[in-house]
């Protein structure tokens, strides 16, 4: 309950009477002061009771025209208040708008004696994510304007804002776009299916439905068209959304681009009825775990989760740490073992426990996610890792682990967001950006060189074109 300025003004009148009584040295004005104080208390008591009555008879609702909306899309929020009987208090209703949404919401009022009112306004959602619209805020005010009481009541509403597809997305190798869409796969066999594969002469036993009449007319003999057969392919997504994945301008971050790739896999799995699982990794560890399933609802859950994830926050600078791989630590230890210099003897102490590096790498969230996904699970044959190039050792170990414990004839697909393409201002010096991209490309190629591993870069096409053009200028100018 809040006392308004008007209340304090009236209370000041009582105070004036007390002062007047003191000036006169007579208690008579105190009777008037006591009257005003008593009057205020009576009004307050009445207000409390009327608020109670009002809340008992009110039904507050608010609804959104769409619960799923693309980024920059608009929804209509309608807030309605209905009372069983005429309201004894003037009631102001303030619809709630989540932080991150744009709107020009207005307070609307149900006047004393009215029973219902509603109000609609547009909300624009510039940022992707999951949002909750809090219940509207009701402010009751008495007839004399002495008191106000604010109460939040009604249901919450959830709105899922989906990122728009990147028009500018590049998925490729060394600047070259990949020719096929992500998630598609062929078996190499022909037969019944959906994708046209080849045309051959008709042989007895072929179905008349398979005859390709165009080819038959063109070649003068009966020909049938064969189709690619498709098999179920179990795929596991590992989506990294740690703090470094937030690099980039809003709506154009690493995660935004990688999310599009991940969603393409989800859509592909849904279209092909392939089993799909998903692990999402934040700075503190796993943030989402979905075991492989071909169930459409389950895959819809994965899709929603991927749309909702955002870069996690980290308080430390662990991502700056670049631990050596266990193999490299062992190699350094062997080399130092034969080094008799003081420097070598001093340094060898730091490498005397190569297994410590195994433990440290195993603690990294992405590696832990791969290990967790594969623990006790048989049959998954494709792993898709989506991350950036900030932690090369960890990514390499995660890829190796996924490849080593994967099953079947599948492999590992790695989609990497090159940091040099995302950081704001990184293109101010294109030559430096190209150098960093070249470092990334070496890393990508080192991953792609692992048997059964394919590695791709994911980034904004226009920025990549600018960096590559700079590289071409360097080469043509003989700078390198």
């Amino acid at each position: 309950m809040r006392a308004t300025n008007r209340f304090w003004t009236v209370a000041a009148l009582a105070g004036a009477l007390v002062v007047w009584a003191t000036v006169l040295g007579r208690p008579l004005p105190l009777v008037g002061a006591a009257g005003i104080v008593a009057w205020l208390l009576a009004q307050q008591y009445r207000f409390v009771r009327l608020v109670e009555d009002s809340l008992g008879s009110l039904t507050v609702d608010h609804s959104v025209s769409r619960q799923r909306v693309p980024a920059d899309g608009t929804t209509l929020l309608t807030t309605s208040v209905d009372a069983d009987e005429p309201l004894p208090l003037s009631t102001h209703v303030q619809p709630s708008v989540p932080a991150g949404a744009d709107s020009h919401s207005d307070t609307f009022t149900i006047e004393r004696g009215d029973r219902t009112n509603s109000h609609s306004f547009d909300i624009t959602w510039p940022v992707a994510g999951a949002f909750t619209i809090d219940p509207p805020t009701l402010t009751f005010r008495d007839a004399l304007g002495l008191f106000e009481r604010t109460v939040q009541t009604g249901p919450e509403r959830a709105v899922q804002v989906q990122p728009r597809a990147r028009r500018n997305v590049h998925v490729g190798e060394g600047g070259d776009l990949v020719a096929v869409g992500v998630g598609e796969h062929e078996t190499g066999d022909t037969g019944s299916g959906l994708e046209p594969a080849d045309i051959r002469e008709y042989v007895p036993g072929d179905s008349i439905n398979d005859v390709d009449w165009n080819a038959t007319a063109r070649l003068g003999e009966l020909h049938v068209r064969e189709f690619e057969t498709e098999t179920d392919r179990e795929t596991m997504l590992f989506v990294d959304h740690r703090a470094t994945l937030g690099a980039g301008t809003p709506g154009e971050t690493k995660l935004d681009y990688l999310r599009q790739v991940a969603l393409a896999f989800v859509d592909s799995a849904r279209d092909l009825s392939d089993p799909l699982g998903c692990y999402t990794v934040g700075d503190a560890g796993l943030t989402g775990t979905y075991r492989p399933s071909a169930n459409a609802d389950r895959q819809l859950d994965i899709r929603r989760h991927l749309q909702a994830v955002s870069p996690t926050e980290t308080t430390d600078r662990t991502h700056d740490r670049q631990p050596s791989s266990p193999a490299r630590a062992q190699a350094v230890q062997q080399r130092l073992a034969t080094d008799d210099t003081d420097f070598g003897r001093r340094l060898v102490g730091y490498f005397d426990r190569p297994e410590a590096y195994v433990e440290r790498v195993a603690e990294d969230p992405l590696v832990a996610a791969v290990r967790s996904a594969r623990a006790g699970h048989e049959g998954a044959n494709w792993s898709v890792i989506l991350t950036d190039d900030e932690r090369e050792t960890e990514v390499r170990e995660a890829v190796k682990l996924a490849r080593r414990i994967g099953t079947g004839d599948g492999g590992v697909l790695v989609f990497l967001a090159p940091t040099s393409l995302y950081e704001p201002g990184s293109l101010a010096d294109l030559d430096a950006a190209y150098d960093r991209y070249a470092d990334f490309e070496r890393f990508r190629r080192s991953l792609a060189a692992i048997d059964g591993v394919s590695a791709y870069e994911v980034g904004p096409a226009d920025r990549l074109d600018a960096v590559l053009a700079s590289g071409r200028r360097q080469w043509s100018g003989g700078g390198r």
């Binding site: 006591a34 609804s63 309608t78 939040q152």
Partner: protein, 197 residues
Amino acid sequence: MSRTPAGGPDASGGDSTPDGPGTVEETVGESGASQRPTDDPSRTTPLRAWSSDWRPRSALVALVLVVATFGLTAGLPGLAVGTALTVAWFVLPTVAVFAAGTIAHAALVPRGAPLGSTVLPMLALAGLLFVTTISADRLRDWGVLAVAWLGLCGLVAIVWVLTETVWVAGLTLAVAGLVGFVSVAYFGLQRVGVTDE
């Protein structure tokens, strides 16, 4: 601000848009309220001015009594003050007129005046306060006002008798009022049970 029915052609960003990320479902709110007509937002009203406060015509009866008792007590000056209070009532809130009347009463009635000269104008002024509790032709919670007033007067009287100091009695009244305000607010918190304050 555009307003369209749910699922209308304004449903931007759905599958119909070339850059849509996939299936964007459109869902009407559970209550279906999105199809209700939009009310005029201009109904939002600020706090009403003092002069437009709810003031029952029965207050005029109390004011006639004020003029009469002031005239009986103080003669022509009393009539003049009573008339001035009546005129002021048309522009000032009733409680302010009551305060002004109390101040004038203390100034007009000399110390040691007969009890009737002291009590009658005060009762007439009290009538002004009581008529503010009239709603829909009924006195509401007048008992609360009466009990609270009598209680506070009793408290002030006790302190006055004990200390014979006006400012101490006044301070006691202020503290009692503050305690009363907090108590009623706490009572309201318990009754309503929900608050974001």
